[in-house]
């Protein structure tokens, strides 16, 4: 089944990593998913962490995830159950971190103006389309090399599957 349905959290342009996951926690908050999830979007939308549900998606404007290279800005969303971030565009390091941590990122500027928080949309990965309110929105497929890493769940699981063991 490649068609999946998701509830939307909608945000604007230039949402930076400091408001997605505050820098003051980067060396003290552990990798514990529950703890990571608690701080997700803390300085952007205090209602998010309390109300997000597994399978929800974020839809945002231009330049999602600009700023710091901190990976927790991706992993806190995964921990909170976010299925994908759909944005008009992504900051470069965020995009890499998402792929390398196994978070689906979709660049689709056309859908952004159409949806609001609470809407339900459908992602069709096979057709590389988003469906909403009777309309379809195309998004570009990822290069195969990059897709392989995402499908493996990130660069670490990908490397585990693709390197010979030398560790006892």
């Amino acid at each position: 089944m490649t068609r999946t349905s998701h509830r939307v959290w909608k945000y604007g342009d230039n949402v930076n990593t400091d408001v997605i996951f505050p820098g003051k926690y980067t060396y003290t908050v552990s990798r514990d998913p529950a703890e990571l999830a608690r701080h997700a979007l803390e300085d952007l939308d205090p209602s998010f962490a309390a109300n997000v549900r597994r399978g929800d998606v974020i839809v945002a404007g231009r330049n999602w995830g600009n700023g710091s290279s901190r990976e927790q800005a991706v992993t806190c969303l995964l921990a909170a159950g976010v299925q994908a971030v759909i944005a008009a565009s992504f900051a470069r390091i965020y995009f890499r971190n998402a792929i390398n941590s196994g978070l689906l990122v979709i660049e689709c500027p056309a859908i952004v103006a159409a949806v609001s928080t609470g809407d339900e949309l459908v992602i069709d990965m096979a057709a590389t389309q988003i469906h909403f309110d009777g309309r379809s929105y195309d998004f570009p497929p990822l290069p195969q090399q990059v897709r392989d890493i995402l499908d493996a769940g990130g660069i670490i699981p990908w490397l585990r599957a693709n390197t010979p063991r030398d560790k006892q």
Partner: protein, 434 residues
């Protein structure tokens, strides 16, 4: 094939004769940089089949983000990193107090002309001022690099910025950077290389150049660079003779061999010309780096506290420009000064700047990142307004979501802490206010 400097750097790093924008290449970076995040990277590394770091000689680790450790948790993090460094035989390890990673790898001659650095820090483009390729990557990628020594990169399109003329007195490359980010916006160079060229580059000191390549991270750039010239080589000679007297000559010879220069007629995706003489003091207003105003239009905004430091503006020239303003003055507002490295602190002490700053009432902190990312040592209270020489003013960046941060050049920060509001240096120096 005609290539930009970035294309030549990536061709070298991937062992190819040439590369083209858009291609995905496997690079073997000369330097893999990390800092206080190294313990977290080690945790990820342990999930991989490899037991040992493939090229320990290529790693560089600096403790800088929370130094000295403000809490026992931070101290434990540092202790874990020392354990890792010991176990894996990492010789390029720099302790608490040595300085901010981007500054230290330049001062220590770890990165240099022609080399490639990938770092677990978003300001990794910084080292491009030496004619190197530097780009930021995430923690998992660094773990993968430790294990395999190589990583995929997409060859970026290039934006060429040609500088002409000379900056006016009291105007700095910080103002030029803020001006460019204001014009092109915080995603104006996303996925791109930014290259600085033109006669104007020759008018800029080494300290002034680093601000440009550092700040291009705030325009979304993958990397930023400029070709090495006589000024670059002079800086390398004098700095390396201090930090690594035992092999400075060998290291310089290696850099001379690896140095690369872009073709002036190589194709670029975007070209901009900037006349340096036309730049005026600029300010990034809360809460975005591209929320830009000329200083003249926000002058007299109330300020509670100033911060001079960070990998952007914590160097000798920055402390010198603050000292020049504060000589014989008393601060009306708190001013925290944190040198970017122990070398900067030592030089500033010898030059008398530290005494001048202390006499004016400033506080001096341990070389490192200080409150830049809200960890410790000068974080803000709700409602406080900070004027900072750093590179980011995002909401909550300095620890408190209801504080406001204005970014400016160090002279403006110093002047504003004398005035109590955003002020042009000429105002407190008793010169003509523009």
């Amino acid at each position: 094939m005609r290539m930009t400097l970035t294309e030549k750097l990536l061709a070298r790093a991937s062992g190819r004769a040439s590369v083209r924008p858009g291609e995905i290449v496997m690079v073997e970076p000369d330097v893999v940089l990390s800092h206080d995040n190294s313990a977290a990277i080690w945790e990820i590394f342990q999930q991989l089949p490899q037991a040992a770091v493939k090229r320990p000689d290529r790693l560089a680790i600096t403790l800088d983000h929370a130094v000295p450790p403000p809490t026992a948790k931070h101290a434990r993090n540092h202790a874990q990193i020392r354990q890792f460094v010991q176990a894996q035989g990492i010789s390029n390890f720099f302790e608490v107090g040595r300085g901010i990673c981007h500054q230290v790898v330049c001062e220590e001659g770890i990165v240099g002309p022609g080399l490639t650095l990938l770092g677990a820090d978003s300001h990794s483009p910084h080292c491009g001022w030496l004619g190197a390729f530097g780009a930021g990557i995430g923690r998992s990628e660094v773990a993968a690099l430790w294990a395999t020594g190589e990583l995929w990169l997409r060859v970026p399109e290039t934006m060429r910025i040609t500088l002409g003329g000379k900056l006016e007195r009291g105007v700095a490359t910080k103002d030029l950077s803020i001006h460019l980010i204001g014009q092109l916006s915080s995603d104006g160079a996303t996925y791109m290389a930014v290259e600085f060229t033109g006669d104007g580059v020759g008018s800029l000191s080494p300290d002034a150049r680093t601000v440009l390549t550092n700040m291009m991270a705030e325009m979304g750039a993958k990397n930023a660079c400029m070709a090495p010239d006589a000024i670059t080589w002079r800086w390398l000679e004098s700095t390396l003779s201090r930090t690594r007297p035992q092999d400075a000559d060998e290291r310089l010879a290696l850099f001379r061999e690896s140095a690369l220069y872009g073709d002036a007629d190589a194709a670029c995706a975007l070209e901009r010309q900037v006349e340096l003489g036309a730049i005026e003091p600029m300010v990034s207003c809360p809460h975005a780096v591209d929320n830009v105003q000329p200083l003249s239009s926000v002058e007299h905004t109330r300020v509670d506290v100033g911060f001079i430091g960070t990998c952007t503006n914590g160097r000798l020239e920055d402390l010198a420009s603050a000292a020049e303003i504060l000589r014989g003055k008393r601060l009306r507002r708190r001013l925290l000064v944190i040198p970017a490295s122990s070398m900067v602190l030592r030089d500033a002490t010898e030059a008398g700047y530290v005494t001048t700053l202390l006499e004016a009432g400033a506080t001096i902190g341990t070389p490192g990142c200080g409150p830049c990312m809200g960890n410790h040592m000068g974080v803000l209270a709700p409602g406080e307004v900070c004027v900072s020489s750093a590179n980011r003013n995002f909401r909550g960046r300095m620890g408190e979501r209801d504080a406001e941060i204005y970014l400016a050049n160090p002279a403006v920060v110093a002047a504003s802490c004398v005035a109590g509001y955003l002020a042009h240096p000429a105002e407190v120096q008793g010169g003509d206010s523009p």
